[in-house]
């Protein structure tokens, strides 16, 4: 899969720019605050359905303008093309896929696959469970059909139930449990399946990246048990009943996939607490790269690799390893300086210079 072209109109610092990408390595080169990350942000919108930097669409619109527009052209396997566009206004979004209007941003999902690695990716291990659930949600939304919708319905039911808890109106609480468990179980089952699958890949990747025998173990942790959908749903319903008093006391729902975690261990110790900086970096990289295999196996396409300002975070050896690893895929890298190592030794590099929202390409 390749991104051929990206158009940005009044998107953050960009007035209007069109960027053509090469099918190999693309280097986005520019000073700080010149608009490099913005390009990756724009691409992610189409893969994930939302910005990874903000939940507020309004922030994406160029200061002083009423709306922003993005358009992307993708080439998929067998010379198929996909054209997606989104218009972001103060009242919402207008979306089109191949010229057909779509109602919701989740309908762009499944057309573009990305795997990204940014300095914030390290939060995956360092921060709390919320960041790890976010990692799962973002990755799964793009490659598992229906996951984003299930998640949205779940959040909606949860809001209704939590509202009752906050208002201390607890007598009609139970009528939300069935639906919450229905969507909750579906999310848990999908997350378990997904986690198990990437765990194997991540473990192998960690060993080869770290060149050590430490091993990385990744496992989805949930309070609800069961092997089948029906069992998990049943379990969640009884957990909701059992935690009713706690929920009432706290004023929110304390069981369900919104409280689960992805446990990450290095040599049987919790990575968040015990891993070194280098181990954290390698583990996160292994986890992100494990998505490549997953996407290739399940979606039949190679993802586009986005690396935001990360080469500087890795030592020379890892830089080279990483670049070799993504060699066969379209890769877009942002950096502030012409690197002395790594990419300048590679062939077919396209350098895209960015200067305060203005693009100029070379090479």
């Amino acid at each position: 899969m390749k991104i051929l072209r990206l158009d940005l109109l009044n998107f953050r610092a960009y007035e209007y720019s069109q960027i053509a990408f090469s099918s190999g390595l693309n280097i986005i080169l520019g000073d700080n605050a010149s608009g490099k990350t913005t390009i990756l942000e724009a691409i992610s919108m189409f893969a994930v359905g939302r910005s990874l930097r903000t939940r507020l669409d309004k922030e994406l619109i160029r200061f002083g303008h009423p709306e922003a527009q993005l358009r992307i052209k993708i080439e998929t396997l067998n010379d198929n093309y996909c054209d997606m566009a989104v218009k972001i206004g103060s009242k919402g979004k207008q979306i089109a896929v191949n010229g057909v209007r779509k109602k919701h941003m989740s309908e762009v999902l499944g057309h573009l696959y990305i795997v990204s690695f940014t300095p914030e990716s390290l939060q995956l291990i360092k921060a709390g469970p919320e960041e790890r659930r976010r990692f799962l949600n973002v990755a799964m939304a793009q490659c598992i059909h229906g996951y984003a919708e299930a998640l949205r319905s779940y959040q909606h039911i949860l809001q209704q139930r939590n509202h009752l808890l906050r208002m201390r109106q607890t007598n009609s609480l139970a009528i939300w449990n069935e639906q919450l468990s229905e969507f909750g179980a579906r999310i848990i089952i999908e997350r378990q399946r997904f986690s198990t699958e990437i765990a194997a890949g991540a473990r192998a990747l960690y060993e080869s990246l770290a060149e050590s025998s430490d091993h990385l173990s990744v496992q989805y942790r949930t309070q609800c048990s069961g092997a089948s959908f029906a069992e998990v749903k049943q379990s969640m319903e009884s957990m909701l009943a059992r935690h009713l008093q706690t929920d009432i006391m706290r004023g929110y729902t304390t069981v369900g996939p919104h409280r689960d975690d992805l446990q990450i261990l290095i040599d049987d110790h919790q990575a968040a607490k015990f891993a070194s900086q280098g181990q954290v970096r390698t583990a996160v990289l292994a986890l992100q790269l494990s998505l490549i295999d997953y996407i290739e196996a399940h979606n039949g396409e190679s993802p586009v690799i986005l690396l935001d300002d990360v080469l500087s975070e890795l030592d020379e050896h890892r830089q080279r390893q990483l670049l070799k690893f993504v060699d066969t895929m379209q890769t877009i890298i942002t950096t502030t300086h012409h690197s002395s190592t790594g990419w300048n030794s590679l062939q077919s590099v396209k350098v895209i210079r960015v200067n305060h929202g203005i693009i100029s390409s070379e090479g």
């Binding site: 009242k91 059909h145 229906g146 919708e149 299930a150 319905s153 909606h156 039911i157 809001q159 209704q160 139930r161 509202h163 009752l164 208002m167 109106q169 009609s172 139970a174 009528i175 939300w176 069935e178 639906q179």
Partner: protein, 200 residues
């Protein structure tokens, strides 16, 4: 909207409060009204007043009607053994178009939604439970929307209806649209259609 004379501002505001009308449409409608001849405006005002004053809720089923009991409740031929519970009067009209249902209706006037401040007490549920106590009644058909709120409302009624002996509680099936292709159906619809499959 600075600069417009006060009466126009008020009119634009009022139009803007209607569902599906944004600020631009509200402004267009307001200026359209201004351009109309006086008698046409009077007719419109009359029609608005008429729907508010000339309409009432059916004393039995709570549907919006001009006579109470409404045409369905007042029809002696209808089967008093079944009540179909819907969210809005327009659902009654949709179901009546089907022409096959012979029972009665009950209109809730919405669905339970805590976020919007709609609880059981804001709906016509008390009236429904009074009707459920009637011995002639054999079946309550829950036909609330297949949204999250519609489902929760159906759950609520089902739980309470089980307390009435000899009363069957059913939920209308949600599945594939007639003439719709399987491959275009979303997962939830497909899952539901599977769950409610029947022997042939």
């Amino acid at each position: 909207m600075n600069g417009f004379p006060e009466p126009i501002v008020i009119l634009i505001e009022q139009f803007g409060r209607l569902p599906g009308i944004g600020p631009k449409s509200a402004q267009r409608l307001a200026f359209h009204i201004i351009s109309l001849p006086e008698d046409q405006v009077e007719t419109l005002i009359g029609a608005l007043r008429q729907v508010k004053h000339g309409l009432t809720l059916c004393e039995q089923c709570c549907a919006v009607t001009d006579v109470s009991p409404c045409a369905v409740c007042g029809d002696p031929i209808r089967d008093r053994g079944a009540i179909c519970v819907v969210q809005d009067t327009k659902d009654v009209i949709a179901l009546e178009r089907m022409r096959t249902y012979q029972g009665l209706y009950h209109v809730l006037g919405g669905a339970i939604s805590p976020i919007d401040g709609v609880g059981p007490d804001q709906l016509h549920l008390r009236e429904l439970f009074v009707r459920m106590a009637d011995d002639h009644l054999k079946e309550v058909i829950l036909a609330t929307n297949s949204t999250i709120e519609g489902e929760a409302t159906a759950q609520y009624i089902a739980r309470l209806a089980h307390g009435f002996d000899g009363l069957a509680v059913t939920r209308i099936a949600h599945g594939l649209p007639v003439g719709g292709d399987l491959e275009y159906a979303d997962e939830m619809t497909l899952a539901r259609a599977f769950e409610f499959r029947r022997p042939l």
